[in-house]
């Protein structure tokens, strides 16, 4: 059907580069094998969810109402919500721990945070100041780093401050001794329990600000509980500040280092607004129409499917096949490489795929010329040609392709199907494997339905309307149902009665359903007509029930619930409008989560509802697996 593309002319007819790509997008990094992938997500370790003894209730302390507006450190007025007197609460806390990875100077440290959330007073406070309860704390923490933890070396003669720039004093008595508490609701630092006095506690009594922070250690103190309390949000914030400070510190300490250490930056609210106002969106690339070069809509439709397919896109964008290095003449992989370059060049005008057309004509002469062709035939031709031209293929002979072929097309579309023939008498089972790049769907309705293994059934009157629905589920059920096999003799017992079941042994990453819309009107004539029955296909489908494993499980008496889910999501649909001999192909493709309608040179936004509504027109449906395994061994386990 398709052989290696040999150029007829003696000289290499290499197409000239049409457009130089302006913004060459760097190829995405090749995926790492699983053992090398570093897990960066925080590990959540659930430890003994036990009920902790209830907290001592804050014994009947009446709180003075704090309704005065307070100013925070930046001079912005903040209202402090009054705390209602709480009835003594019986608290049970679930103990959960969370391990976070804190980057430090030499590698990282794993810090275990307990997910407890302070006392009941803190809960009320958090509720009242939902988004801003950490704001002042962050400011204090940052200042504390500056005052006590970063910056200068140990105190020396002439530089008594040393480590940190200015240790703080109590606002009232100016002492530096003992512990100093910084109020988080207003600008106040007071001494805490030094020699039986505490200006910080007096501040609480007069102002009613329940919480304060130790300026050196950044521990949160609750005056109503009269104790330091642990809160994971505050602790996490403290760690962030520590990390940030150490980053800045290491930059300052080693000015001779060639590379400044990365200091993380979180934009403030004003900065976020500024960024949002002054930025312009970059137009998306990878979307271009394809000019119709003369009844080439069949080619354009399938090409758009290939180009918007993430696996094929990744293959070419990671430079796996570089047309500058490839020496095969008329190589279709080079043509695809060229196509991707064009599509991601930043140009949004439609592209005329001349060189691709030329290469295709040379390789598949049956599709050459300006006649209207079938999209499915083109799909098959493209796959075979890509296989022949690819460097990774494992078999040259097209009849000997097996599931282990490494060429990109077979890796993406190739699935393994099995036919299981069982003898009714002696129960002998024979299995035949078939490597296919598509799954043919036969609609039931008007006309003859061709079944695999022989033509079955008489011609139905075209006026008969059957109630059988043609959804993908029904079609798959029918396809994989047990059927009587004609014309087959059991090898062991020569029994004529055998049953056959088809199922999918290994699901391909991209599953292609071909809806058979060709049918003969009568058994005797060779006229074909188009079956315009509605074919209902879902956006998402779990392929588990039609795999070989499911077949085995059901035969053994198990249930389908025990099977893992093999979820597939719709990514492309090729529609055909018109008659058998003449018509027009269009495609719906999902590009980065957004559906588009590709009609030759016109690319339009589309809704998923429109896609699903193209029931009468759907011809090729492409589904992609939700999770794709990288590991070969795991790959073979699918289905």
């Amino acid at each position: 059907m398709s052989g290696k593309g040999t150029s007829k002319a003696k000289s290499k007819a290499r197409p000239k580069k049409l457009i130089t790509p302006k913004n060459k997008i760097p190829p995405p990094p090749a995926p790492l094998p699983p053992s090398e992938v570093v897990k960066l997500e925080p590990k959540i370790v659930v430890v003994n969810e036990t009920d902790v003894k209830p907290l001592k209730p804050a014994g009947g302390q009446k709180l003075s109402k704090a309704t005065k507006a307070a100013t925070n450190k930046k001079g912005v007025k903040r209202k402090v919500e009054p705390l209602e007197t709480q009835p003594p609460a019986q608290l049970t806390m679930e103990r959960r721990t969370r391990v976070i990875r804190v980057p430090k100077k030499n590698g990282c440290e794993h810090v275990t945070l307990s997910e407890e959330s302070g006392c009941e007073h803190l809960k009320v406070y958090k509720k009242n100041n939902k988004d801003s309860y950490l704001d002042n704390f962050n400011i204090i923490a940052e200042l504390s780093m500056h005052w006590y933890h970063i910056g200068l070396p140990a105190p020396q003669e002439g530089n008594p401050n040393g480590r940190g720039l200015c240790p703080q004093k109590c606002f009232v008595c100016k002492t530096r001794e003992g512990k100093l508490h910084a109020c988080i609701d207003c600008v106040f630092i007071g001494c805490h329990r030094i020699n039986n006095r505490s200006h910080a506690i007096e501040h609480y009594r007069s102002e009613g600000h329940t919480f304060a922070v130790d300026v050196v250690r950044l521990d949160l103190f609750c005056y109503r509980c009269d104790d330091y309390i642990y809160d994971s949000a505050f602790r996490r914030s403290k760690i962030q500040q520590e990390v940030h400070a150490s980053e800045k510190e290491s930059n300052r300490k080693d000015p001779n280092s060639k590379r400044a250490r990365y200091v993380s930056w979180v934009p403030t609210k004003e900065e976020t607004e500024k960024i949002r106002k002054n930025s312009t969106l970059v137009p998306c690339s990878g979307l271009r129409g394809l000019y119709n070069m003369g009844a080439t809509c069949f080619m354009n439709a399938v090409l758009q499917v290939f180009i918007n397919n993430p696996i094929i896109k990744n293959y070419f964008m990671s430079d796996k096949h570089n047309k500058a290095l490839c020496e095969t003449a008329g190589c279709m992989c080079c043509e695809f490489d060229n196509l991707f370059q064009e599509f991601f060049s930043g140009e949004t005008k439609p592209y005329p795929p001349c060189s691709f057309l030329h290469a295709m004509w040379l390789s598949s002469t049956e599709l050459a010329g300006y006649n209207e062709q079938d999209a499915h035939e083109f799909y098959m031709a493209a796959i075979n040609k890509m296989h022949s031209d690819s460097k990774e293929k494992t078999a040259d002979d097209l009849n000997k392709i097996d599931i282990k072929c490494e060429c990109i097309m077979h890796k993406t579309f190739g699935g393994l199907f099995q036919s299981r023939i069982k003898c009714k008498k002696c129960n002998r089972v024979s299995i035949i494997f078939e490597h296919l790049v598509e799954w043919q769907i036969h609609l039931r309705g008007n006309g003859i339905v061709k079944k695999k293994g022989g033509v079955n059934g008489g011609s139905k009157a075209s006026n008969e309307v059957t109630e059988t629905k043609n959804s993908l589920f029904d079609c798959l059920d029918r396809c994989t149902a047990e059927e009587q096999l004609e014309g087959y003799t059991c090898e062991k017992c020569h029994e004529q009665k055998n049953t056959k079941r088809i199922s999918c042994r290994k699901l391909p990453p991209v599953l292609v359903f071909i809806v058979e819309r060709f049918q003969r009107t009568t058994r005797t004539t060779s006229k074909t007509s188009k079956n315009e029955e509605e074919f209902e296909f879902p956006e998402e489908i779990n392929m588990a029930p039609w795999t070989s494993r499911a077949e085995e499980v059901l035969e053994a008496g198990g249930s389908l619930d025990d099977l893992p889910e093999y979820k597939y999501k719709l990514i492309s649909v090729v529609n055909h409008e018109g008659k058998i001999n003449t018509g027009h192909y269009t495609t719906y493709c999902k590009n980065r989560g957004q559906w588009f309608l590709f009609d030759d040179h016109a690319v339009k936004l589309a809704n998923v509802e429109d896609v699903l509504q193209s029931k009468r027109k759907a011809y090729l449906c492409f589904y992609m697996a939700e999770t794709i395994e990288y590991d070969q061994a795991q790959e073979m386990a699918i289905g």
Binding site: K53, K56, E157, P160, G162, K174, T175, D226, D227, Y228
Partner: protein, 98 residues
């Protein structure tokens, strides 16, 4: 308490960073003599006795304060007091010079 003025020896101690040195010296000596570990253990015992969620920092501080004072090794006390008086002497003598 009154504010510490610029001329008081206490401030001088701080200013010349002697205070910081003395403090570091004290911490080091206490750790070396094993006092720090003892106090830590005592804290643990007190917390276990009262219950980790019932105890307050003030209770802990008071309970441990007397214990710590008792357990303070004599040599550490003597050496530190010696150092402090030496530093103060040098401050006073430098003041007298100016």
């Amino acid at each position: 308490m009154s504010e510490t003025t610029e001329n008081e020896p206490k401030y001088k101690l701080y200013e010349t960073s002697t205070k910081h040195h003395l403090k570091s010296l004290l911490v080091k000596k206490l750790r070396d003599s094993g006092w720090t570990n003892n106090v830590k253990k005592r804290c643990g015992e007190i917390i276990k006795a009262e219950g980790a969620d019932k105890i307050k920092i003030s209770q802990l501080e008071d309970a441990v304060l007397s214990y710590g004072r008792e357990m303070l090794p004599e040599e550490v006390k003597i050496e530190l007091l010696q150092q402090i008086s030496d530093s103060l002497d040098s401050i006073i003598s430098s003041k007298e010079k100016t």
